[in-house]
């Protein structure tokens, strides 16, 4: 059975392997729920997430680079 000394995947595999089928399904469900919960912490359904990244702001980039060059040349 599980004990507190199990800390690695290698130690866990034989324990999982020895479980009856019904217990294996429980483990699988537990892990799926855990993963789903972690995902839901990152993104919530029906909520808008603004993306501030100015993608392809090429004219802005050109303006800033010109300003830097002018200052350097002055």
């Amino acid at each position: 059975m599980l004990n507190a000394d199990i800390k690695t995947w290698t130690q866990l595999v034989p324990v999982l392997h020895a479980l009856p089928r019904r217990e294996k399904v429980k483990v699988m469900k537990f892990l799926l729920d855990e993963l789903a919960e972690e995902e839901s912490e990152l993104l919530t359904a029906h909520q808008a997430y603004p993306i501030w990244t100015p993608l392809q702001a090429d004219s802005a980039a050109e303006t800033l680079l010109t300003l830097l060059a002018e200052e350097k040349a002055a």
Binding site: P54, A61, T63, L67
Partner: protein, 135 residues
Amino acid sequence: MKNALRFDFGASQPGSSSLLPFLPVRFASGQRSVEGRALLDTGATVNVMPYGMGLDLGVDWEQQTTSVKLTGNLADLPAKALLLDVTVGNFAPVRLAFAWTRAEQLPLILGQVNFFMEFDVCFFRAKGFFEVSRK
């Protein structure tokens, strides 16, 4: 990387499990100095500074004469060009150009022009840290 500084990924908001590469930076403008944390955004074409941070630095919006046109969520708000000395860790201050936007609800963004032209950055997201060095 040679002479690189290492930083941990940080939560975007307190308690959030979303970890992002936020870099501690220090700005100098005239007699004022302001510290902040900036999002390293490789997809951003330019550096972007939120309106409030520029005000904290004592910059006068009306005196900035060069307008810049941003894209995406920021496209509808005016922005002006701003050149500032920025210090990262113990590196010497670097002159960075910012699009200073009237928007407030965004992080300070460091993008391709010209942060990533001045600094090399290596992301180790799976390990939870990133490294920054001068070019």
